[in-house]
């Protein structure tokens, strides 16, 4: 599964994208798995209310399922316009 990071999430984690093998059933499970890996993930994901997530390029909630998903992206609230 491809995991993408944008804006300050990318800066905190240190890479724009990475590929991981995961059996996580939901986005929240994936977040828990990443947080347990290393401190930089733990810090980046410490406050989920300041994060948004997209699954295969669609905004979703953190309880969204990951079955069949190719791409998950984490980023702060968007500031377009």
């Amino acid at each position: 599964m491809d995991i993408l990071y944008f804006a300050w999430v990318r800066e905190r984690i240190g890479v724009p994208r990475e590929q991981i093998d995961t059996a996580a059933a939901t986005v929240a499970d994936l977040v828990a798995e990443l947080r347990a890996r290393e401190e930089r993930y733990d810090i980046a994901f410490s406050d989920l209310s300041s994060l948004r997530v997209a699954v295969d390029q669609e905004l979703v909630d953190f309880d969204a399922p990951l079955a069949g998903v190719r791409e998950v992206a984490f980023f702060p609230p968007m500031t377009g316009g």
Partner: protein, 147 residues
Amino acid sequence: MHISVQQEAFDLGAVSADFAGGHKDMGAIVTFTGVVRDLPDDPLEAMEIEHYPGMTEKALRGMAEQAMARFSLGDALVIHRYGRLVPGEMIMMVATAARHRKDAFQAAEFLMDYLKSRAPFWKREITKTGAGWVESKDEDEDALARW
């Protein structure tokens, strides 16, 4: 419908004239343009805009399709830039064409409200004293409630 996510500047006059000229049955054309604004207390050197290639185009297209259906538009256009911009540069524009002005104005506002907090762009301000990501505003999220 025209959606463009691009690094290069756009010609507001030419794009507007082209958009307005193509619709004989539409009586109202509204355009809105967003410009990089300088900061009063800490002069802005540049604004950097990051986006999510692929999702951005998809999200903008989805918003424009919704606006077309909801306000019975004849056409809609969204151009949004990314990369490094300086104060005074145009960041983005929307244009809407409808039979009557109310729909054209409302559709432009609808597009702007959604663009602010549902299109995957992130702004970073670079000033003399440092750099920082622009935080989203609660009022931008609240603005979606009216639709």
